[in-house]
């Protein structure tokens, strides 16, 4: 029953797939119940967001935005030679493009607020990443990051010291203490046989790692396997399959709309949008609740290459699809009735000393630690390749990489290792109870405003960075300040000097005044310009008392000046001591006095 006039909405198969029903994120039923992400802010951490474009402007949140590359509050993307800085705008459009504006497309959470943090368009350091991950973290609920270390099949990298500290700080103090939600895209290294176990953002426990599947539900050519991927959602596939249609920038070659958004970059924002829908129905979900709901509701589906495994907790998992395909209807209905999971628990093995040589392939070194009673193997199988860990054939990474030349190749030594497991202390019964509770909610019976479980208010956590004046603002203020000071001094000086003139003229009152020399001719012609003080009218009797002490030139000059109309009034008053009043001037009319 949902209809939008956005011209490209019919092509947005990921929202509502008419060609292959079911091959979409199943979100229209959620929209019909007015769940659109209202009250939630998603920030796209990328190369900028063109927030002036029609599809984004009404949902744009300047208070959640910042530009770390230029150090100013406006994250507008800067056109560059490769015409490449449209990435952040496209991700933002997937999340919150405005519907029914007859422009381009519709976002998953089109009722949410969208912010931008521009950080990828320039030199990036660990400290900049740390600032980005906690920027406005009491305003931004979800951080959508469609980027990561190189996917070249060789790089092993992730958040460094500060980035890791910021992720931890974000899940502890972000979003009023419920924890920021960090959504990251799994790797795009499929062609290099890469694996995102080598990507510290993807396999961090603080992030929601999202992979991609094409419209047919298969792992696309660019996607890579990853044990720590939580779930997958749709994106583009190979040439024969449709990509994601979304808002685009309109700078350089941009038209404001694109049908070519693809890669895991396109999948992560869709997940961020679905999480925004969850937070609308239940704002007090913690960062761990969100992860658990994804695991409980993601759907396994038939894909012969997926190699699904069912683990002891009863969940299906695959290195290609995580715990399965995200489904907005299931996520939101589960969120609506979700009660918080137990605190994060970790199980740490002792440091296991080995000091064993790692033989050259095809032989291998296998070490076991069976301190954890578990019913099935596969929990801790690692294949260590030289000093770089992780399980994946790394065709492009010769294990001798980084060693001195081949001839002096030394056998690697495994000194020691330790296994840490993170999770929730739940018994199988707890899990089965929760699963049946969720299945009963999938009818949508709770998805209306009258039903709401109690939701504790968040903590008031001040954002420490306050408002820092940007250099431009500072310069402007200084300039205005100087200008003001200069004019104030000038005006004071002028008033002082003119007062001094008047004072010097006042001296005449007590004795005869000598007018500066005036040519008789000018006077006869009445062409002289006289500076006379302003005159105000007073009634005669008052004047009587006043005029005795006050006599002014104006009494003498008013009639002819008035007639001539060429008199100039100025501040410097000049007064004359007149021997007597011209009675006729007073005759019957108000006298002008100064």
């Amino acid at each position: 029953s949902v209809h939008f006039n956005d011209p490209k909405y019919p092509q947005q198969w990921h929202l509502n797939n008419r060609r292959s029903p079911g091959r979409d994120i199943n979100v229209t039923g959620v929209w019909e119940r007015n769940v659109t992400g209202r009250g939630v802010t998603v920030v796209v951490v990328d190369d900028g967001v063109e927030h002036t474009i029609q599809d984004i402007a009404p949902n744009y949140s300047p208070e959640g935005s910042y530009d770390l590359n230029s150090d100013d509050p406006d994250p507008m993307p800067h056109p560059d030679v490769e015409n490449g800085n449209h990435h952040g705008t496209r991700c933002a459009g997937e999340i919150a493009a405005v519907p029914n504006n007859s422009f381009c497309a519709v976002g998953v959470a089109y009722g949410s607020r969208i912010a931008g943090i521009r950080v990828l368009d320039g030199p990036l350091t660990d400290s900049m990443e740390a600032v980005a991950f906690n920027k406005h973290y009491q305003i931004n609920d979800i951080y959508s990051c469609s980027w990561g270390p190189d996917d070249d099949g060789k790089t092993v990298d992730g958040p460094h010291q500060l980035g890791k500290a910021a992720l931890q700080h974000g899940v502890i103090a972000g979003r009023q203490g419920f924890g920021s939600i960090f959504v990251v895209a799994s790797g795009n290294g499929g062609q290099h046989n890469d694996n995102c176990n080598y990507d510290g953002y993807a396999n961090s426990i603080y992030t929601v790692t999202i992979g991609a599947v094409d419209e047919e539900g298969h792992m696309p050519f660019y996607a890579e396997e990853c044990a720590s991927m939580l779930a997958v959602t749709f994106s583009g596939g190979d040439k024969m399959l449709r990509s994601i249609v979304t808002t685009d920038w309109d700078l350089q070659k941009g038209t404001g709309c694109t049908e070519g958004h693809t890669g895991t970059s396109a999948a992560a924002p869709l997940a961020a949008g679905m999480i925004a829908l969850m937070l609308q129905v239940r704002p007090c979900l913690t960062w761990r609740d969100v992860q658990h709901i994804i695991v409980f509701t993601a759907t396994r589906y038939e894909d012969r290459r997926a190699e699904w495994v069912t683990n002891e907790a009863g969940f299906s998992h695959s290195h290609q699809h995580g715990f399965g395909l995200l489904n907005a209807w299931r996520l939101v209905n589960a969120a609506k009735i979700w009660t918080s999971v137990p605190y994060l628990a970790s199980y740490v093995s002792p440091m296991l000393k080995e000091n064993k040589a790692i033989p050259q392939s095809p032989r291998s070194l296998e070490v076991l630690w069976n301190g954890i009673p578990h019913g099935f193997n596969g929990l801790g199988t690692f294949s260590i390749c030289a000093m770089l860990g992780g399980e994946s054939p790394r065709d492009y990474q010769a294990c001798r990489q980084g060693m001195s030349g081949m001839e002096s190749f030394q056998v690697g030594i495994l000194r020691q290792w330790q296994l840490t497991l993170y999770g929730s202390v739940w018994s199988p019964v707890d899990i089965r109870d929760r699963q049946s509770l969720l299945e009963s909610a999938m009818s949508g019976k709770h998805l209306h405003d009258d039903f709401a479980l109690p939701c504790p208010p968040g903590l008031k956590i001040p954002e420490e960075d306050g408002y820092t004046i940007t250099p431009n603002t500072l310069k402007t203020l200084v300039l205005v300040g100087c200008f003001t000071v200069f004019w104030t001094v000038y005006y004071m000086l002028e008033v002082y000097l003119s007062q001094r003139n008047v004072a010097s003229n006042q001296v005449c009152r007590s004795g005869p005044c000598h007018w500066p020399h005036r040519s008789r001719k000018a006077k006869e012609e009445g062409t002289e310009l006289e500076s006379v003080p302003l005159c105000s009218s007073k009634d005669p009797d008052e004047v009587e008392t006043e005029s005795r002490g006050l006599s002014t030139a104006s009494d003498l000059l008013v009639p002819d000046l008035l007639e001539q109309g060429d008199w100039s009034l100025s501040q410097n008053k000049s007064t004359l001591d007149c021997p007597h009043q011209h009675r006729d001037l007073l005759h019957g009319k108000e006298e002008q006095i100064c």
Partner: protein, 104 residues
């Protein structure tokens, strides 16, 4: 790709260091840390560029503006490392390197 990774990549404005200072107990902790950071930056011949985001006790020290020959930069780097490594209030420090990040 944001930045050019690798050991030679330096931060946007020349070498910079992130420092984590031992947080002192007691009231007014933040400004004490701030003062401590200023003093430490000065001792190392750097400028305290302020706290790193929301991370308590983490500060970024940058080199005063101005271009310097490579040799001098290397000497400065060693001096800074010696000062930071030798200061008892410094829990952790690291020179900031450019990170390579790819849009996906």
């Amino acid at each position: 790709l944001a930045g050019t990774g690798g050991p030679d990549g330096q931060g946007p404005g020349g070498p910079s260091w992130a420092v984590h200072l031992e947080s002192l107990k007691g009231d007014g902790e933040e400004e004490t840390l701030e003062q401590q950071a200023d003093a430490l930056a000065q001792a190392a011949g750097l400028v305290n560029a302020g706290r790193i985001g929301e991370l308590q006790g983490h500060y970024l020290f940058v080199q005063p503006a101005g271009h310097r020959p490579a040799l001098e930069v290397e000497a400065i780097r060693q001096h800074v490392e010696a000062v930071l490594a030798g200061h008892e209030a410094v829990r952790w420090h690291s020179e900031q390197r450019l990170l390579r990040r790819a849009k996906r």
